[in-house]
Symmetry: C2
Subunit: 439 residues, 2 copies
């Protein structure tokens, strides 16, 4: 029998009915021996996030606002005590909450505060499943600077898991060398899931969420986009980096290192196929063709013209020095005859960009300099898509037919994506046109 590690996201463990669904899913396959859980997510749009409430309590307590802190903590308390009752388990929730309250009042860190939602939820769910509870503290390890220690974690965690036939592990956090709590960035329970999958030498890492896997494009812009049944780690990273937000961007690495496929599934419709993320050399996924179309706002394009400037390398090197000085991020530096462009991400405010432009004018003295702000990059992603050319033809034609003028086209930096830059304002019509043409 193989091993499955299942990770359930915030909406999948938001309340007792949802947690019952996860139990049914977990029990449906005895291979699901290790389960990673998020903290309880919002039950409705108006619901407050447990993490935010924990931060709020800490701040109020620190500011000496005793009444307000009391109110805040009672909301947290109600939620967890309510869960304990509804699930019919006995984990000593009142005592656990009292201890957290005491430590937060005594000045425990923000990361400690943030992590308690996952901790308490994992305690509840372990009891409800009849699984062991294995805390991530002391097993998911960070260095003094907050850098994740992949190999040390794998050694500690796999040794611990070997002692447990079945266990529930809280996502999102681990610990620092001194013993303090350290969290991953938001959405980091996905990373914990991948780490546990690697440590358990799992055959598959199931990531249960509230969507049925990756869709070919953003459903907020395009109605009912098709699902993506299978894509490679690299395709997934490309889609995620360019705006598809199903999985945390860094969640791939631990699974990829161990070659474990990631199955994205929907807790609310477990019968849906979902998306399987597989090795980069997977045959079925490697079949050339479009997998998805993502879009990401917030870029800028800087174009510098300098006639007969000589070799491009020293000019580019000087531009990079200036960009570094201004703290800018560069995604790409396409060159042309007498011209060099920079695609900037994490673009600062107008003043920052203008100061950067002024410095270029002063130090490089170009014939002409243009900065185009508010640029969206659309990415058509799929193995071999550059060489295949069908996507490039389809994208450019679709944009032309929609009357949208592309600011840039770039294919060939890798072999799995074609980028087209458009005005932010044209993002939605552009995405709809490209999806209609290609999908």
């Amino acid at each position: 029998m193989g091993i499955i590690v299942a990770k359930f996201g915030g909406s999948s463990v938001a309340d007792a009915p949802q947690i019952r669904k996860t139990k049914a899913i977990t029990e449906a396959d005895p291979a699901r021996r290790y389960v990673v859980v998020s903290g309880p997510g919002k039950r409705s749009k108006e619901d407050e996030k447990i993490t935010d409430l924990l931060y709020q309590f800490k701040d109020q307590a620190a500011a000496g606002q005793a009444t307000e802190a009391e109110e805040t903590f009672s909301v947290i308390e109600e939620r967890f005590v309510g869960l304990e009752e509804e699930l019919g388990v006995a984990v000593g929730m009142a005592g656990l909450l009292a201890e957290i309250r005491e430590r937060l009042t005594a000045g425990a860190s923000r990361d400690y505060a943030a992590s308690r939602g996952e901790y308490l939820n994992a305690r509840l769910i372990a009891a409800f499943y009849g699984y062991d509870f294995v805390d991530a503290e002391g097993l998911v390890l960070f260095d003094r600077d907050g850098g994740f220690l992949a190999d040390e974690t794998d050694a500690a965690l796999s040794a611990e898991l070997a002692k447990h036939e079945r266990a529930v592990i809280p996502g999102f956090y681990g610990s620092l060398p001194g013993g303090g709590i350290k969290t991953f960035s938001r959405g980091g329970s996905d990373i914990t899931g991948a780490i546990v999958a690697r440590a358990a030498r799992a055959d598959v890492y199931e990531n249960w969420t509230d969507v049925s896997g990756f869709l070919m494009t953003d459903p907020r812009v395009v109605e009912n986009p098709k699902p993506i049944p299978r894509l490679t780690y690299r395709e997934q990273r490309e889609l995620s980096a360019m705006g598809a937000s199903v999985l945390h961007e860094d969640a791939i690495t631990p699974a990829r290192v161990a070659g474990i496929p990631i199955q994205i599934k929907n807790t609310n419709t477990p019968g849906d196929a979902g998306t399987m993320i597989v090795r980069d050399d997977d045959r079925a996924a490697l079949r050339a063709g479009l997998k998805g179309i993502a879009g990401k706002k917030g870029f800028a394009i800087l174009r510098l013209y300098k006639s007969a400037a000589g070799p491009k390398l020293p000019l580019l090197a000087r531009l990079l020095v200036l960009a570094t000085r201004f703290g800018l991020s560069i995604e790409s530096a396409p060159g042309g005859v007498d011209a060099l462009a920079l695609i900037l991400s994490g673009v600062p405010d107008r003043e920052g960009l203008e100061a950067f432009a002024k410095t270029i004018v002063d130090e490089i003295n170009p014939d002409h300099l243009e900065i185009r702000k508010e640029v969206t990059l659309l990415a058509a992603v799929g193995n071999g898509i550059t060489a295949d050319a069908r996507a490039a033809v389809g994208m450019t034609r679709a944009l032309r037919d929609a009357g949208i003028r592309p600011l840039l086209i770039e294919a060939g930096a890798n072999d799995i994506s074609i980028l087209v830059g458009v005005d932010d304002e044209e993002y939605e019509p552009a995405l709809r046109a490209v999806y209609a043409a290609l999908a």
Copy 2:
């Protein structure tokens, strides 16, 4: 009455019949007051170049090969004395040749040797036209390091031209501060023509050659390509840099500085319209659309994949340092998610590239590194072509229909070209397919 500066290239002044054609052209418009000439070009495919014979003589004389040197010089002598006779002029050619022979035997520089074809031809043509001869020596000025002194030259040359109603000036060379001769790179008479046009405050710079201006693409690959009636300096530079070889790449700058249009004409069919190269803001030329399609071989594409490598800027900066260490030229550095590519020109031999790749592997430790050699870049050039998108659609579709897989597509580094990379072997079918689709 305006002033026209006419430059006649090597094939236009290769023999007496050709020189007669140039006289008829010059006399047809009294505005053609200043004429720049190349040395006599080849009269047939088998003909030896005067420049090469002059080098050969110098080398043989230096090596003490008296008999061989004698034979070489007699070929040069016959050519120029023959021209003097056929044109029916008396410039004392025998004496001029004797002086050149003496100075070359005494060890005059290679640049001096190379320049004498232009010098003697200008002497002959000035006499034949009844124009003054104005030597470029002492007027076209270089600094100690061989850098062209644009403003100093303009001052000296315009002062001298003011003393001559009509003159013939030899192309290709000028002089160093010490007085030695210094030549431009091959084809540099085009540059002299532009320099003289600027100094004469000409209304137009006519460049007379053996083709009727720029054609939309390479006639060696595509049969009877359409001519280009009008293009801007920038479009011309882009086409020239990408492989169209009508005009020397650096010939534009002096004319551009002075805003003088360049008219490319055919000495053999002076009735043909030719190509007019105009200011970058010329309305008629600015009408968006394709002007030409050029192709250039000898590029390489390096693609580096490194997953979750963090910001791209420091990685690119390190790559530039390594490329500089290996003396490589970079044309473009397009980036993708987890990937960075370099488009290299002036690619060294296989060993050089492999040593570069090995150093990248050692110092940057990428997940994967690919080098693709023997890449041809096709450039579709025209003002506003990026935003227009018709060309991008046409190019990508034409390549797809021809079964050619593009290695890269790049548009947006500037607004006047779209680059597509293909295998060297696919250059000709690719160019034919793209021309057929777009032109």
